[in-house]
Symmetry: C2
Subunit: 412 residues, 2 copies
């Protein structure tokens, strides 16, 4: 039976962590170990390995535009399979685990199939299971809508499920198990001596996720920040401690936490627009009307009273953005519009930036010393991003990583 | 919109009928055709091909004794996949189909995981979907228990789902689509010129299912008989009419409908038991206490006051049955107990038997003329079964099939 003093840990396991019986057995052992250390445990699982992709492929063989309700019904089968297999593996170790679909776990969502938002969590059945001494295993990524249909939460949905349950049940922490050791100071594939960051703030991880970091989905981190759920991102292969993500106050502040990079955007430049009030408003309203997601924006006015406007968009939106810009440019009397998909964005993220002036200057000096031409700049209070040629990106990331002393310290 | 004059047809598709996108597309086309002929349609689907077996195998890799609740959660994913894919394929043809899990279809069961019984069907959501002009696609084989867990109905469960829905919704008929053309006068693998029977009574099909016929599950036929649901067993590959199964009154009575065979049983014989009252009672109570399923029983008393008792049991129960018989035999003073797994049972089934005397005599004559020694006999009002050596079975089935004029008539 659960004792009142027992603390609750929510653990989320991604697709690679439960891919096949051997992996599921390893996860079951870790869950049981956590339980035996004196915690109540709620487990959230993704579908095994490539299951979701395979189901989507089956649907695509039948229809180019499958109904969203049926796609949700289809893909939610994946978590149902992994969660019951995990319960079976836990039972084999002598403990009782009970699986819950999103609906059974009381995850109530809106009706937006494929990208539903959680409205409320009615976790009575989970609480009863925990009070009965059971381990609760919940299907990630899914819920039941207000009109009693099965919905999915979209990309990173299992992380969101885990964080939302941790918030609803007052968990001590939410552990996100994945196939990497945690959050690194840069992508280890580019910077082999990138270091594992033991502590990061929500804001830092949000900036990292927004500028190319791939470990945590933006939405689940926002959810965690809003509800004050401490996250622990760690490996389901080594079981070693990873990266804790929490409120900034509780953190030891590094000046710079990470260098991120991103090649998912393209740049559009409108040259020689007569500089009148309302140009930018006209252009970006027209882009918004076409649902183009504009990220960075820069505008320069030359001495001749002509303005140059540059902005970045996801590469997928480039064709639409170019067309809209041509139309608006013609109307405004711009001299030309050019598109450029060969760009990269490199960003410096760090909460300590707020209290350390001169970080931007150092960044620009390092890039200049390495022959990297900066094409655009944007900043937030804890981030500086520079757009450059894509083929200079790797050098830029490595140079900055070294210059800001992020290279892994030798193990003592 | 559904008009009041529209009749409802329930269609059930087995695993081979929905195995892969091409098969699912063919089923979708047939469903749409039925709808366009002016019927409301409720479709019940099994899991695709070998999906259920593959899921069970995954579970068996994790545990020899997986918890029944989790096994039900696991295997019900299979129908969820096939039903949403079918809805997607129907949508591609321009009609609206909505999928329903057992729970969403209102199939309320008891709590016996793996072999749940349907208690009630609360089909409001299905009725609403039909009234809205939609095709309803329901996951076969599954329901929700009174304690809100997901249950499965056991072997042949999808047929049971279809028949139960047909009863609850007042369907005109329940079509069972399978990979054979219908119910034949004998197994076509043994009797190549076996004929497709266009009409059979519930009682005949029940006797056939109980004596080796494999097309329909016993339980779903009992359900259909109890609720007066007319069945139509037909091919999902040719879409040709198959076998109608209904009340006997409505049927043209053939004398003999089918020759069935079965090698799933073994025979136990206790020889030389002193013939006292209570011997049979003692033996069969002991067998029942060990949950041994006894089928045929025969007892002879010799002139010396010694009795021989023979009975048949499923081969899986033979070891237990032998042990129990040895114990009781020793206690009773029997001279010996012998077991025999090399037997076969051949049965003659036909509703016309009731009004045609001499059928049994003919059967015994045919077997004798073919050199088949009869070891045991059992009868019901519409069935005669003979136990024989297993290696005589094929000859016996063929000889009887010819003698009772069941060989297919030449197409005129």
């Amino acid at each position: 039976m659960s004792s009142p003093s027992r603390t609750l840990i929510v653990q989320k396991y991604g697709g690679t962590s439960v891919d096949g019986p051997a992996r599921i057995r390893a996860v079951a052992e870790h869950v049981v170990r956590t339980r035996q250390e004196g915690h109540d445990v709620v487990v959230v699982v993704s579908a095994m390995g490539k299951t979701t992709d395979e189901l989507i492929q089956l649907a695509e063989e039948l229809s180019a535009f499958p109904p969203a309700r049926e796609m949700d019904m289809l893909v939610t089968a994946g978590e149902r399979i992994s969660m019951s297999l995990l319960c079976i593996a836990i039972a084999e170790l002598g403990l009782t685990a009970t699986s819950f679909t999103g609906s059974q776990a009381g995850i109530l969502t809106d009706t937006a199939h494929g990208k539903a938002k959680i409205l409320e969590i009615r976790a009575d059945r989970l609480r009863d299971a925990l009070a009965d001494g059971q381990i609760a295993v919940v299907a990630g990524f899914q819920g039941m809508s207000t009109d009693r249909n099965i919905t999915t939460l979209g990309r990173g949905g299992s992380d969101t499920t885990a964080v939302a349950l941790a918030a609803a049940l007052g968990a001590e922490s939410c552990e996100i198990y994945t196939d990497v050791a945690g959050v690194f100071s840069a992508d280890p594939r580019i910077v082999p001596n990138a270091r594992l960051q033991p502590q990061l703030s929500f804001d830092e991880v949000l900036e990292m996720a927004a500028t190319g970091g791939r470990v945590l989905a933006l939405r689940s981190v926002e959810f965690a920040r809003n509800y004050g759920v401490t996250l622990h991102v760690r490996s389901a292969f080594t079981w070693e401690p990873g990266t804790w993500v929490g409120q900034e106050e509780a953190m030891e502040k590094a000046i710079i936490s990470a260098i991120t990079h991103d090649t998912s955007e393209a740049k559009v430049t409108m040259l020689g627009v007569p500089d009148r009030p309302g140009i930018a408003a006209r252009l970006f309203r027209a882009l918004a009307d076409e649902a183009v997601n504009v990220d960075m924006i820069e505008q320069n006015v030359s001495v001749h009273g002509l303005a140059d406007i540059s902005f970045t968009v996801p590469k997928a939106d480039l064709l639409v953005a170019a067309r809209v810009s041509e139309e608006v440019g013609t109307e405004m009397g711009a001299s030309s519009v050019s598109c450029d998909a060969d760009i990269a964005r490199v960003s410096l993220v760090g909460a300590g930036m707020k209290t350390h002036p001169g970080i931007a200057a150092t960044m620009f000096e390092v890039l200049a010393a390495n022959g990297v031409n900066i094409e655009m700049i944007s900043t937030s209070s804890i981030r500086i991003s520079c757009v450059m040629r894509e083929d200079r990106m790797v050098d830029a990331v490595r140079a900055l990583h070294t210059a800001f002393e992020l290279d892994q310290e030798p193990v003592p």
